[in-house]
Amino acid sequence: MKMTPTRRGVTSVIALSAAVLLAATGCARDGGGGRGGETSPGITDDSITLGITTPLSGPTAGPGTCTVAGLEAYMGAVNEAGGIEFGDGKTRTVEIKALDDAYDPQKASSNYQTLKNEAFAITSGLGTPTNLAWREAATADEVPQVFVMTGDPIFSQQSESPWSLGWVPAYPNEGAAFGEMLAKSSEDHKVAILFQNDDFGEGYVEGFKEAIKGSENIEVVGELSYEATDASVDAQLTELAATDADILFNAMSITPLVISSLERAQSIGWEPSWFLPSNTSSPTAILEPGGADAYPGVYSVAFSKAPASPKFADDEDVKTFLSDLKTYADYPEVPAFPHCMWSYMLGATLEEVFKDMQEPTRENFMEAVRSIEDFKAPLMLDGTSVNTTVDGEPAVSSVVVQKYNGKGFDTVEGIE
């Protein structure tokens, strides 16, 4: 390069300006706070700010919007009533700062950078990759990443994620709930397993197999997988039908595939009882169009009351929830996604946590987060509760098995 004549000049100018500015600004950075100082950001004597990064646009915007709406509904009502009295005796209102990450991990990690200095804790965000993207950064920066909506168990392992905690049941929790019910059955059952070949499907199968281990009456007669990108599972269903199993454990997360497999199994004359994951067992969106009535039973798991179900139409919790949602979250319709209920329950749990907090610091907050035992949040079904004291388990790990009744779901004790 032709830099030689001016190189010396260039170097000295750079060195000089760098040295001057370093001296002038080097210290400003340290005193700025927000990098692990004593006072945690996002909390004052009369308010606390919660951050959310979640998909508010793109294909997952529906459930993503719900993760904000439920929390806004609960906290809106709380603020209206004057705020929450924290464990340190101060009453604070709760502000919510939600950002859109469009289910893009890169945007989620960018949002994290914004939120960590403005919010006291980051919560409620939906998505496994989007939460994984900043999990390690949150650990390093000691920023609470609590009650996030992902079934990945890593968020609930304290050694791996000391500053994180999952909210919803992990995939194995759901599989295990169904397995336990089968194991208790007095009859013999032959089970065929169909699972999605990723951490979602494998998680369900792992939990299920763990639960039926040692049960004499349960026999797994067939186990096949498919790819999340597959357009059809007809071949797998035909092969599994040949095993003559009376139970099909179907760990599938793709809505159209669930509908087509419900139709396919009937058309080849195989009518077992089905197990479906909680997120692909919507009565109106999946079971009705799939013709699930034809089967002796379609089972799924849940931990929240479903406002759409006629059974809960007059339930007090459901009524308050729907009116809060309308008043404080500008969400007038009955939510189609359970995430609205989940984030509402999450709000109630956070209120419990705040009541336990003795000091306005993130450290103390995390201690309080991990000390909730058997808390029954509004909208919770009987038999489920919030329990954060068990390492390795998300805040809600208990689910109840439910059976499809043609319109909605009823809680059942055993297989019928």
């Binding site: 100018v13 890169q106 949002n111 390093a140 951490d199």
Partner: protein, 349 residues
């Protein structure tokens, strides 16, 4: 203004100021700003790669995000397996280049839209592959590595260190690509873009130049993947989702196709617009982003990089308004206008 910029003293002075800013700013700015600038560098380089094949080469590529994703996966794999960092960087650069070369050898035989179709397939195939090859990619949970944290001896914060890394890589990449597109190869590529028959008659093989530009674009994509991993420190199948390719393309068009400044503006667009729309209303980000895209394309079809030229053009035309322009002048202007549509090197400066 442009005369002033041509004086060597002024140019050197400006360069010195820029370098000094690049050295000093990361130390002064708050963490969020450093992080945002670092992300802009990442996507400016990704858009630059796309510009090589599309802006300068004239081939429609919708697969650029695949090469960014590949680069980020190679980096993440290298970092989690304790490869030497220089080796990791080279791998993140060479492997996407090889992938690009192999694809281009086949795809460049197809003309026009066919090459666009082939490139669409890349992220569409890449995403399930990334999920499935979980031994290397960590499956749908992805890979994370904090390999780019600041070493103790520097006394820097992580964000400062990361910004320095990506700044250096970005500047070097931009300089190299600038030399490429303004040199012998770039001139030949411009002819291939304009008219393949003319290129062939001059002894320039359109096929090989398409392959060359696609390979370089892939390599630059791989470099941006390394930078992505340095800043975000996490990669997953979502990283190479197809819609990001479209956003990159939009960023390139908004910035200004076939310009270096346009690549930088494209990077700013890619990173800053989501931040901006989030600040306005997080529930309307998609709509606002669409509105911004439409607005830029309506007002400045040549992209934001054409803004100075556009202003100069407006000033000139308003200056000559009193009295109708003589015929010859109008004719000359029409010729100039036609000429300015050609990808002349001047336009890039």
């Amino acid at each position: 203004m442009s005369n002033l910029l041509k004086k060597p003293a002024v140019r050197w002075g400006a360069l010195v100021v820029l370098v000094a800013l690049a050295v000093v700013l990361p130390l002064m700015l708050p963490e969020v700003a450093n992080d945002t600038i670092a992300r802009i560098c990442v996507f400016a380089v990704a858009v630059l790669g796309l510009n090589v094949v599309m802006g300068y080469g004239g081939q429609v590529s919708l697969g650029q995000i695949f090469f960014l994703g590949l680069g980020s996966y190679v980096t993440a794999y290298g970092a989690t397996n304790d490869w030497n960092i220089v080796l990791t960087f080279l791998a993140a650069l060479v492997l996407p280049a090889i992938a690009g070369l192999v694809i281009a050898l086949a795809a460049a035989r197809l003309g026009g839209l066919a090459i666009a179709m082939v490139t669409i397939a890349l992220p569409i195939v890449g995403l399930p592959l990334a999920r499935r090859l979980d031994h290397w990619t960590g499956g749908s949970q992805g890979l994370s590595s904090r390999f780019s944290d600041a070493p103790e001896w520097t006394g820097l914060y992580h964000d400062q260190w990361q910004l320095y890394i990506v700044l250096v890589i970005a500047v070097v990449t931009f300089v190299l690509v600038r030399n490429f597109v303004r040199g012998k190869f770039g001139r030949a590529l411009a002819i291939v873009k304009e008219n393949e028959a003319v290129a062939s008659s001059m002894g320039i093989s359109p096929y090989w130049y398409k392959v060359l530009s696609f390979t370089i674009a892939s390599m630059v994509g791989g470099i941006s993947g390394f930078m992505y991993m340095s800043v975000v420190q996490y990669t997953s199948p979502e990283t190479l989702a197809f819609h990001h390719s479209i956003t990159l393309l939009a960023a390139m068009v908004v910035g200004g196709s076939a310009t270096l400044a346009g690549s930088v503006i494209g990077g700013v667009y890619f990173v800053f617009v989501p931040v901006l729309t989030n600040a306005i209303n997080p529930n309307l980000t998609a709509m606002l982003q669409g509105a911004i895209l439409l607005l830029v394309l309506f007002l400045l079809p040549g992209g934001l990089a054409s803004l100075p030229r556009r202003i100069a053009g407006l000033r000139r035309s308003s200056g000559s308004r009193p009295g109708a322009p003589p015929r010859e002048e109008a004719a000359t202007r029409a010729v100039q206008k036609a000429a300015s549509k050609q990808p002349t090197r001047k336009a890039d400066q």
